[in-house]
Amino acid sequence: MTTKRLIVGAHYGLRDWLAQRITAVVMALYTLVLLGWLFALPELTYGTWAGMFASTWMKVLSLLALVALVWHAWVGVRDIFMDYIKPAGLRLLLLTATIVVLVGYALWAVTILWSV
C-alpha cells in the first residue's frame, strides 16, 4: 500500500491540450494542400474533382485530416460541455451523443472517400 494516492489522472489534461494543437496543425496543412491542388486544376468538373480523390495518397491524407478533425472536435466540444453543462446526467448524455455522432461522421467519410 502506498500512502500517496493518485487523485487525478496525471497528464490527461496535457495530452488532450497537446492533441488539440497537433491536430490543428494537421488540418491547417491539409487546408493548404487542398487549396493548392484546387488552384492547380485547369477547371472544376466531376472528372478533375473525382480524379483528385482517386489517388491513394490523397485518400490517406484526407483520412488523416479527418481523424485529426474528429479528435480536435471531441476535445473542443467536450470543453464546451464541461464549461456550460453542469448537471452530470445531462453532460454524460451530451458527451455520449457527441462520441456517437463523431464516430458516425468518421465512418461516413471513409465510405465517401473509398467510393471513388
Binding site: 494543437r21 490543428a24 496543425v25 491547417a28 487546408t31 466531376y46 474533382w49 473525382a50 480523390f53 478533425l69 472536435a73 473542443g76 466540444v77 464546451i80 464549461d83 456550460y84 461522421y105 461516413w108 467519410a109 465517401i112 472517400l113 467510393s115 471513388v116
Partner: protein
C-alpha cells in the same frame, strides 16, 4: 455576476464568477476576449452545421456525374450560399484565431499590447478573407 450583501454598508456589492454562456451579451469584452468567444462559437458552429453539411456536399460531389450535378444545384441555391458563407467565416475565424493561440502557446506576443494587436490582425484577416469568399460565392469574380 451575482450580488452579495456587504455587511458594513448593507448595500449589494458585485461578486464576479465565471461568465456563463447566457451572460456573454451583457459583458463588454476586450478585443482578445471577442476573438476568444468567437473562436468558441465558430467551433461549435463548425461541429453542429459545418461537419454534416460539408460531408453531405462532399458525398454528392464525389459519388457520380449525376450526384455532382445535384451538388452544383444545391450550392447555387441562395440559402445554401448564405449557409456556406457563414461556415466559411466560421472556418476562417477559427483558423486565424487558432494560429494566434499557437503563437501564444509558444510564449510569443503574450504581453497586453501585442496580444491586442494580434487579436485585431485575426479579425482583419478573417473578415477580409470572408469578404473575398462572399464575392466568389455570389459570382463577382
Amino acid at each position: 455576476m451575482t450580488d452579495a450583501v456587504d455587511k458594513a454598508t448593507g448595500r449589494a456589492r458585485p461578486e464576479f464568477r465565471n461568465i456563463h454562456v447566457t451572460q456573454i451579451a451583457g459583458y463588454r469584452l476586450p478585443l482578445a476576449g471577442i476573438v476568444s468567444i468567437l473562436h468558441r462559437i465558430s467551433g461549435a458552429l463548425l461541429f453542429l452545421v459545418g461537419l454534416p453539411f460539408a460531408l453531405y456536399l462532399f458525398q454528392q460531389s464525389l459519388l457520380s456525374e449525376i450526384s455532382f450535378d445535384n451538388y452544383r444545384a444545391i450550392v447555387s441555391h441562395w440559402f445554401a450560399k448564405l449557409v456556406l458563407l457563414g461556415l466559411a467565416w466560421a472556418y476562417l475565424h477559427h483558423l486565424c484565431a487558432g494560429i494566434r493561440y499557437l503563437f501564444l502557446d509558444l510564449d510569443i506576443g503574450v504581453d497586453k499590447a501585442a496580444s491586442r494587436s494580434s487579436a485585431a490582425v485575426v479579425m482583419a484577416i478573417s473578415l477580409t478573407l470572408t469578404f473575398l469568399v462572399a464575392l466568389k460565392i455570389f459570382g463577382v469574380f
